[in-house]
């Protein structure tokens, strides 16, 4: 009995064997190959890459399979591998204005240089179960995509939107939360990194809360673009940039109201979101939370959770959150025993006090006496 209460090596081995068996499903059906996952579940793969902070489709697909489709478990797998990789330095900033978009939309202008391009989107699909033809669109691909300047740059030209980086500021080095301790308050660069690793659902909820009055930022989707871009790295021993490969990105620039202050004329402000692969919901939510977190910068009153840096950043990482919530499964015998002892003691003291005190007079009796 006593031994059975405590776990043991055999229990763990058996549990893992059972898990692997469950994950295999019906052995009469073929096993899903990770390349099939990378190709057919690309949106899920993008999420695992984004929140796992590692751009590797094949690895993310393997993680999804090993995790039996549990996104957070897959993200944890990817992160635990990523952290063991050596770091050589930073790549050059990617120029998303030059990103040849597979998709590019703006909700602020009907037409704009380069035009709108719907691309591969679930928008405007009817959510009905169908088997769609997968042979692709009929129209020929655009051979040389037109120039597509960023919407925010168009606004910036007439100073209607805050400049980035702020006028007079030098280009700050990017922070890296995975290599440096997290200290509040954070720089915006660090905050953006934290947000891009954050849980999509959590950011979605926070972004939604700002639309419902909890720290409103009045956002407009200035521009959302999705496409593949080359990543370059400047190796110090070479002295010039070498391309490392191409990555697919989703970028969202949210445009927000700012009424101006005593020393700043009215101007639009920005919220920024960037994620790997096709991750539009994530990029949009991120840009809204980014803007909400800039409240102090614009002298706005901080009243809502989405505006509170410590609250948002400390709770948005799903690897941390799920780990700590689920750690409640671990034994807490010792602490519970301590609390059990305390509750018993408090109850005993309560009974002693009750026994010592003279019985409270019966209110009926007092009333009767008063009447008499």
């Amino acid at each position: 009995m006593y031994v059975a209460v405590k776990g043991g090596e055999r229990a763990i081995a058996n549990a893992h064997a059972l898990l692997a068996k469950e994950g295999r499903g019906d052995p009469g059906l073929p096993r899903i190959e990770h390349r099939a996952v990378a190709g057919q579940l690309a949106v899920l793969v993008a999420r695992v890459m984004t929140e796992g902070s590692l751009y590797d489709r094949e690895l993310a697909a393997r993680a999804i399979l090993q995790a039996q489709g549990d996104a957070l478990e897959a993200i944890t797998l990817v992160r635990s591998y990523r952290t063991t990789l050596p770091r050589f330095g930073y790549t050059l900033p990617v120029d998303t204005a030059a990103l040849p978009p597979q998709r590019r939309i703006s909700a602020t202008f009907k037409d704009l240089p380069g035009g709108q391009q719907l691309g591969a989107t679930f928008d405007y699909t009817h959510r009905l179960f169908t088997d769609r033809d997968t042979s692709g669109p009929r129209a020929p691909e655009v051979v040389s995509p037109p120039e597509m300047p960023r919407v925010t740059d168009l606004l910036g030209a007439s100073a209607l939107i805050e400049p980035v980086p702020p006028a007079g500021a030098d280009d700050p080095e990017p922070g890296d939360l995975t290599r440096e301790p997290t200290i509040f308050p954070m720089s915006r660069a660090e905050r953006l990194q934290a947000l891009s690793r954050s849980d999509e659902g959590f950011l979605l909820g926070l972004a939604y809360s700002t639309q419902r009055g909890y720290g409103g930022t009045h956002p407009f989707a200035g521009e959302i673009r999705v496409g593949e871009i080359e990543v370059e790295f400047e190796a110090p021993e070479l002295g010039f940039a070498v391309p490392l490969g191409r990555i697919e990105l989703t970028e969202c620039q949210m445009i927000n109201q700012f009424r101006g202050s005593a020393d700043t004329p009215a101007q639009f402000t920005r919220g920024y979101g960037l994620a790997f692969g096709r991750s539009e919901r994530k990029a949009m939510s991120m840009s809204m939370v980014d803007r909400a977190l800039r409240a102090a910068e614009f002298g706005e009153r901080i009243t809502a959770p989405a505006q509170d840096e410590e609250f948002v950043i400390s709770h948005s990482d799903n690897v941390q959150a799920t780990g700590f919530v689920e750690h409640l499964k671990l034994p807490h015998y010792v602490d519970f025993q301590a609390e059990l002892g305390l509750v018993r003691q408090l109850r005993a003291e309560f009974r002693e006090r009750a026994a010592d005190e003279p019985a409270a007079p019966d209110p009926e009796l007092i009333l009767a006496e008063a009447r008499a």
């Binding site: 043991g8 944890t76 997290t182 308050p185 700590f324 750690h327 010792v334 025993q337």
Partner: protein
């Protein structure tokens, strides 16, 4: 030495990370009880399952070390087994369940009953490194309170306990003052274990992975559990001995034996219990647990 895990460094973490953690540890030892921020890495366990302790152990463990891992005082709880087998695989070290044989003891929620000795290191897994967190939720603010040694909040909380219940009503993670300067969370060990921290000959290291903090108590350092002159700190006590080995003055787990309210009390420290029971019968300790 082969680690048994292809593609991973000895002790899992890469050497740069180990160096970063060791630097953090040096700072932590130099300022007893002060929480040093560190760039906590992911490890292959979930956050909240001992990732801070695992990183500290990974950074200090070497081929000559003998590792003991306990959870709730026991060597055979699933999480302790899991972490022990992780280090056996990635660091290739010898493991033990005997407190006196271990050079490094990683623990969750307990300090072993067998007194720790000079040269031993105990690594605590810490869920919440900030003792003031539930009184002041902001990190920027608690950092300031520590800088000013402004611990009034905690004393007020303990005073309110006394006003309400007649005694302090904190039973685990009972706050301690280290070296007369920093208020420190001892991790959720029962207050029963607090006195063992005071001037312990062992090096005590604390790792909070999710919260990204490391702190330390060097050997022979004062660790005083908070209290008042008229209401001094009182660790919890048990009235009965262990039902298996008969030990008294040890921490006990209550094991429910039936659905009629029946229960028995047994040692939480399995190593201590096995050896005490063996001493009773004169049998080999391994046979007692079999």
């Amino acid at each position: 030495m082969s680690t048994g895990l292809d593609g991973y460094n000895i002790g899992y973490l890469d050497e740069q990370t180990k160096r970063m953690i060791r630097r953090t540890l040096l700072k932590a030892v130099a300022i007893p009880g002060f929480q040093v921020p560190f760039a906590s890495r992911e490890v292959p366990m979930p956050r909240g399952w001992g990732t801070g302790g695992v990183q500290v152990t990974a950074a200090i463990i070497g081929p000559d070390d003998v590792l003991k891992v306990i959870d709730q005082g026991a060597d055979d709880t699933a999480n302790a087994v899991s972490i022990r087998s992780f280090f056996a695989a990635v660091a290739g070290v010898r493991t033990t369940t005997r407190t006196d044989e271990a050079t490094i003891i990683q623990t969750r929620h307990r300090i072993p009953e067998t007194p720790l000795a000079d040269g031993q290191t105990i690594v605590y897994q810490v869920p919440g490194p900030e003792p003031l967190r539930f009184l002041e939720r902001r990190e920027t603010e608690t950092r300031r309170l520590h800088a000013l040694a402004d611990y009034g909040l905690m004393y007020v909380k303990l005073y309110e306990d006394i006003a309400k219940y007649g005694h302090i009503a904190t039973t685990y993670d009972y706050p301690v003052m280290v070296n007369g300067r920093y208020l420190m969370a001892p991790s959720p060990i029962p207050s029963f274990d607090n006195p063992k921290m005071h001037r312990s000959p062992a090096l005590q290291l604390f790792g909070a992975g999710r919260e990204k903090r490391i702190y330390a108590v060097p050997p022979y350092t004062d660790v005083e559990s908070l209290g008042f002159e008229d209401h001094p700190f009182e660790p919890q006590r048990f009235d009965e001995p262990c039902a298996i080995c008969g030990s008294t003055g040890v921490y006990l787990d209550e094991v429910i034996t039936n659905d009629k309210g029946g229960s028995m009390f047994v040692c939480s420290d399995t190593d201590h219990c096995e050896r005490a029971a063996a001493a009773l019968t004169g049998a080999d300790p391994q046979e007692v647990i079999a």
